[in-house]
């Protein structure tokens, strides 16, 4: 009996120790975000003082105002949202392709699916220059569509849709067809609602990657009017290296919506990431 009790005690002590260590680790991991948020509200003088203050002594909203009045962050925000929305069209295309691969037998299916898998292995750096030239040939450089196009569809997402949609019972589709539903109606009213779990994951991931995308906006948008938040932010780094408060306010504008999405849809985000382990 006594050995059992000391054993339980030791296990409890171990759990507490691990809990404390992980708690400290979590604080360290999250600290840069905390620092970003508090600095965003500090007057400039305070953000460059030595020693640094932890919390803003004289909190101010002037940097957020400046971003949206003197600087063009309102426009960057709209552009970013537009890029995300175009991304959702791509999501629809991928769901459609996944459905076709899952539920139809057609000539060329094998090699097309092979191409889908093959694109998963090609790094962006290899396609960066030719894609720019292709977009330039299509007169799409310096357009929002051009920014969104290169990453609009991903082989991995098509693969995930296909995997999920093969589990939809074919009888249900046949029943809908017998009732006279057209193919697109069947897809819209039966396949998509039944694919909700994977759709939710993909919607959240599409939002995150569209919102955060950096390389393509950087390459394709040469006109300031087309900058997304990420490019505007990177530019701020070069222009105003002396005003950390403004920079941190801008970084907050980019990070906070993602944090909110993460908190609300945490389950889907984590599922999506765990799925990428299947790749």
């Amino acid at each position: 009996m006594t050995t059992d009790r000391t054993h339980a005690k030791r296990r409890r002590a171990l759990t507490v120790t691990i809990g404390i260590a992980l708690g400290i680790g979590a604080l360290i991991t999250a600290f840069p975000f905390l620092w970003m948020l508090t600095t965003a509200f500090k007057p400039q003088r305070e953000s460059v003082t030595f020693p640094p203050t932890i919390l803003p002594q004289a909190p101010t909203l002037e940097w957020f105002q400046m971003l949206f009045t003197e600087l063009d962050f309102g426009r960057y925000l709209v552009n970013t949202i537009l890029v995300v929305l175009i991304g959702f069209i791509g999501l629809m295309f991928m769901a459609m392709a996944g459905y076709a691969f899952a539920k139809f037998d057609f000539r060329g299916r094998k090699w097309m699916f092979f191409l889908v898998l093959a694109t998963m292995m090609i790094p962006i750096q290899v396609t960066m220059i030719p894609t720019y030239l292709i977009l330039n040939g299509m007169k799409l450089t310096n357009t929002l569509l051009g920014i969104a196009l290169p990453t609009l569809v991903s082989g991995f997402a098509i693969f995930l849709f296909r995997q999920f949609m093969t589990t939809i019972p074919t009888e249900m589709l046949e029943a809908a067809r017998l009732d006279g539903a057209g193919e697109f109606r069947t897809f819209w009213q039966i396949v998509l609602p039944m694919s909700k779990p994977i759709l939710a994951v993909q919607i959240v991931l599409t939002f995150i990657s569209g919102w955060n995308s950096f390389l393509w906006p950087l390459i394709i948008a040469s006109d300031q009017k087309l900058y997304t938040l990420s490019v505007g932010l990177a530019l701020l780094n070069q222009q105003l290296a002396v005003n950390p408060s403004l920079q941190m306010a801008a970084a907050s504008v980019m990070v906070i919506p993602i944090l909110i999405v993460f908190i609300v849809f945490q389950r889907y985000v984590i599922q999506g990431f765990a799925l990428s382990g299947l790749k």
């Binding site: 459609m96 609009l152 932010l233």
Partner: protein, 292 residues
């Protein structure tokens, strides 16, 4: 007839995009890499000439290219084990208890993985600042003089890589946690009955069972380091003196700052070959491991 066409209607928008922006560019890159194409091609395509393998010979004689490849190699050699061990360690610890507290901690470790790298890099740039950065302040408390986090060529490599490690662990922790769900509880219970401690159970049962996840994470992390771009781009722009110029930064600069499309394409083909070879080697090693 209508039925025959249906799958093609469903598949074609995505396939067209995938072929245009996924497959076709590789062929274009291969072709351009044999030309002297640069910005003047936009004015007149007659300015583009076929020059065979000149770009490749020039590339292999370019010290900047070798520096970028060397840096990328260094990042991968130190970065891959750092990320794999750190994320595996944290995942094992997080999995120690299923209590509410432990579960809520997970979110903290994931957040860096989903936030914009540009924003994150700016924040780190501020932390690293020599004059008013928080890190130097903390160091000054223990008597360490000003540290040149981003302007010392050797230290800059470390500073830039640290941000990537910090960001890279979140995703892998999720993958490891998912894999840990697959470890059969009976094994662990049986080992406990035999008197095995936590340590022994972790190293003799859990880790061997997670071989596939560890392998998978190693491969994807290696590829990610070979494509390392955003952090050095924002923090140091590849400097000081090219110390943090990764292969991707080199390609970006040659391609989009100097507009040497032909030359940069040759570089991207070489990078592609390197990534392909390393991936194949890793798969081979894995297969040998399976046979055994």
């Amino acid at each position: 007839m209508r039925n025959r066409l249906t799958p093609y209607l469903f598949v074609s928008p995505a396939m067209l995009l995938l072929i245009t922006f996924g497959i076709f560019p590789i062929l274009v890159a291969a072709v351009i890499s044999t030309t002297n194409m640069n910005i003047s091609a936009f004015a007149d395509w007659n300015n583009v000439e076929f020059i065979g393998i000149d770009n490749y010979t020039k590339l292999f004689a370019d010290p900047d290219f070798w520096q970028a490849i060397g840096n990328t190699g260094l990042f991968a050699v130190f970065g891959v084990p750092a990320i794999v061990i750190l994320s595996l360690g944290v995942a094992l610890l997080l999995n120690h208890s299923q209590s509410r507290f432990f579960r809520s901690l997970r979110a903290f470790y994931f957040i860096p993985a989903i936030t914009a790298i540009v924003a994150i890099s700016l924040v780190w740039g501020y932390l690293y600042n020599t004059q008013f950065g928080l890190l130097n302040y903390l160091f000054s408390l223990v008597g360490v003089p000003q540290v040149q986090w981003l302007s010392d060529p050797i230290l800059a490599k470390f500073s830039v890589a640290l941000v990537a490690v910090w960001r890279g662990t979140g995703l892998n922790i999720i993958i490891f946690l998912a894999a840990l769900q697959g470890v059969p509880k009976e094994y662990l219970e049986a080992a406990s009955l035999d008197g095995a401690g936590e340590w022994k159970k972790t190293f003799s049962i859990v880790i061997p069972l997670m071989r596939f996840a560890i392998f998978f994470v190693s491969v994807t992390t290696t590829i990610a380091w070979l494509q390392f771009f955003d952090e050095p781009f924002v923090l140091t722009d590849g400097g000081p003196l090219g110390a943090t110029t990764s292969a991707s930064i080199f390609l970006y600069k040659e391609g989009f700052r100097l507009n040497q499309f032909g030359y940069a394409s040759a570089g991207s083909i070489v990078l592609f070959a390197i990534i392909a070879v390393i991936t194949l080697i890793q798969l081979r090693v894995r297969r040998a491991d399976d046979d055994y």
